[in-house]
């Protein structure tokens, strides 16, 4: 496994941001998270969400996605080959897990914003990819089914951003992440099979879903 991230998407390049998450500032924090996710990548966005928080005391499950640090070879860290390449590892959180908290709700909402930002970045790449690739003598981006799929993704982002800005209810947040998972898949499909190669930037969408799985209690949510 690679200890160092090797992806081509921008990541870990933003200075560590301390977000102001006071109630009145949460929308601004969410917008900042989306910006970081879009411009600096998933790991940088996750770092911004978690900075200053006690991960082990808040995480709802036995593992919690965290940005990789130089000492992530420690026994309490679980690795995943795709997440490794995004600069993300999974910290083991021992003991009985805490009930849902305000902190967890904030993390859920801000992580959703990061994920939407990552998706925006991938959608930009997908549109460029579809504009370069021809089928039947015209760029794929001009095919109605493809144009419609792009529109569905960005319209979905617009809607889910509002959900991320407004919701702190655990069920609504669980639903939000499930919908982002789905939208991520719709985005990944725009790259065709090339987006299913582990070294492709679309890898971030698979890892994004894995991160959300550790920070979102989604019991009962689903299709």
């Amino acid at each position: 496994m690679n200890a160092a991230p090797t992806n081509t998407a921008p990541m870990n390049t933003a200075p560590m941001t301390v977000l102001n998450t006071a109630d009145t500032a949460l929308p601004a924090a969410a917008r900042e998270c989306e910006r970081i996710g879009r411009t600096a990548g998933l790991a940088a966005g996750l770092a911004a969400v978690l900075v200053g928080r006690d991960v082990a005391a808040i995480a709802p499950g036995r593992y919690a996605a965290v940005p990789a640090a130089p000492d992530t070879e420690s026994p309490g860290v679980r690795r995943h080959s795709l997440a490794d390449r995004e600069g993300i590892v999974f910290a083991e959180c021992q003991g009985e897990r805490p009930p849902a908290s305000t902190d967890l709700a904030e993390i859920g909402a801000l992580l959703a914003a990061v994920r939407l930002g990552v998706m925006r970045h991938l959608l930009d790449l997908a549109v460029a990819h579809l504009s370069e690739r021809d089928s039947g003598g015209e760029p794929l981006i001009r095919k109605q089914l493809v144009t419609g799929a792009v529109a569905d993704v960005i319209a979905g982002v617009e809607l889910l951003r509002e959900q991320a800005l407004a919701q702190r209810d655990p069920v609504a947040l669980g639903d939000l992440h499930t919908r982002i998972d789905d939208l991520g898949w719709q985005t990944a499909k725009l790259f065709g099979a090339s987006g299913y190669i582990a070294d492709h930037p679309a890898r971030a969408l698979y890892v994004s879903a894995l991160c959300a799985n550790t920070w979102s209690g989604r019991e009962g949510a689903g299709e």
Binding site: P60, A149, N213
Partner: protein
């Protein structure tokens, strides 16, 4: 609804036993798809390989009593594939066996070519490949650029590139589709043995590192003037209209349903895994009901292809529906377990990646949608 008769039930039951062995290999193959040596003597692999080999070309295996799948038609193959994928689709696709190349060799090959192909697979150490898809072209055969040029001595030289070819880089023998000219009828299938290519550097194969379904060992292939003897082109003994790709339309409808069967088998595996580890998971019965409905559609599509081999309507609808259902089932399962459930259940996490592969195999969802709409407009939904 298709009632499984005694023959189909036998195929299903034998496949279920083999599926347990595939399940046991699933995570190791996902972790390192190149480390296959330790798995090659698995009985399930011998069963799959021998079952898919015509009786006259089967090797003798003294001392081994294999239960074979008695698959003689599309529906029987689909029933078997679905149950094997319920064990693990990645482990199934990692099996050295005739697979799709065998279907084409059976259809277009002459007696000598069939014997060469199947004999080469004896011992269970030889993978096969079916090289159709090209970089940037998807599986659109009409846009195929790989070409066979005459070498002036009765043979051909193969030039071009293929991509996302299962077991391509490790294949010992397989089929490469290429053009001998500009017309649609000029797309031919050539039998190639990479290890015998001279000069060796004319053949380049590299496994691609994929997100999921890693047992399939999808590969990129490049041919820089690979010599192909004249008698290695399949279909020379057939009429011009039946010797190339258009003689194999039935095969493509069949392949599409096989992919749908892989998707349904994986979805059932996911739902049943959740049932085993979290009986009270919300939505469990619904997930199972949806997977079972997709299974029925896949069976129906197989029966339709047997009645009307050239009609793609229901095979496309089945592939479209089964693939979507499998992705939805994986997403449901991600939320149905406790938080971080995917980290605690690596097999489930693997399947959530694997199900995405089916979208890209044998035509994407958009391609299927276009075929389904065309078939509907032609009245195929009432056929």
């Amino acid at each position: 609804m298709i009632e499984l008769d005694g023959r189909l039930r036998a195929v299903r039951d034998v496949s279920r036993e083999a599926a347990e062995q595939l399940r046991a290999l699933a995570q190791a193959i996902d972790t390192d798809p190149d480390a296959m040596q330790a798995h090659l003597d698995t009985e399930a692999y011998a069963m799959v390989r021998i079952s898919n080999t015509p009786a006259k070309y089967r090797e003798s295996m003294p001392g081994r009593q294999l239960r074979l799948l008695d698959e003689g038609n599309c529906l029987e193959t689909v029933v078997g594939t679905l149950e094997l994928a319920r064990g693990d689709a990645g482990a199934l696709l990692a099996c050295p066996s005739p697979a799709l190349a065998g279907v084409i060799v059976d259809l277009l090959g002459d007696e000598r070519q069939r014997e060469l192909f199947y004999t080469r697979l004896h011992g269970g150490r030889t993978w096969t490949f079916f090289a159709m898809t090209e970089p940037g072209r998807g599986s659109d055969a009409t846009a195929m650029e790989t070409r066979l040029e005459r070498d002036g001595a009765g043979g051909w030289l193969l030039h071009g590139e293929k991509r996302y070819i299962g077991n391509g880089a490790r294949g010992g023998i397989g089929v490469v589709f290429a053009r001998t000219g500009r017309s649609a009828l000029s797309i031919r299938a050539a039998l190639v043995e990479p290890a015998l290519v001279e000069p060796p550097h004319a053949w380049h194969g590299q496994r691609l590192d994929m997100v999921g379904l890693r047992g399939a060992a999808l590969s990129a292939l490049r041919f820089d003037g690979v010599p192909v003897r004249g008698d290695m082109l399949l279909g020379e003994h057939l009429p011009v209209t039946r010797r190339g790709i258009w003689g194999a339309i039935e095969t493509f409808n069949n392949m599409r349903i096989q992919v749908a069967a892989l998707a349904v088998g994986t979805a059932l595996a996911i739902a049943e895994y959740v049932a085993e580890h979290r009986k009270s998971a919300p939505g469990l019965q619904l997930a199972l009901a949806r997977a079972e409905a997709a299974r029925e559609l896949v069976y129906e599509a197989a029966a339709r292809v047997m009645r009307d081999p050239d009609n793609s309507y229901l095979s496309c609808a089945a592939k479209l529906g089964a693939t979507r259902m499998a992705v939805q089932t994986a997403r449901w399962a991600s939320g149905a377990m406790s938080p971080a459930g995917l980290l605690e259940h690596p097999l489930l996490e693997k399947w959530t990646r694997d199900v995405c592969a089916f979208e890209f195999m044998e035509g994407t969802g958009d391609i299927q949608r276009l075929h389904v709409a065309k078939g509907y407009q032609a009245g195929d939904a009432d056929g």
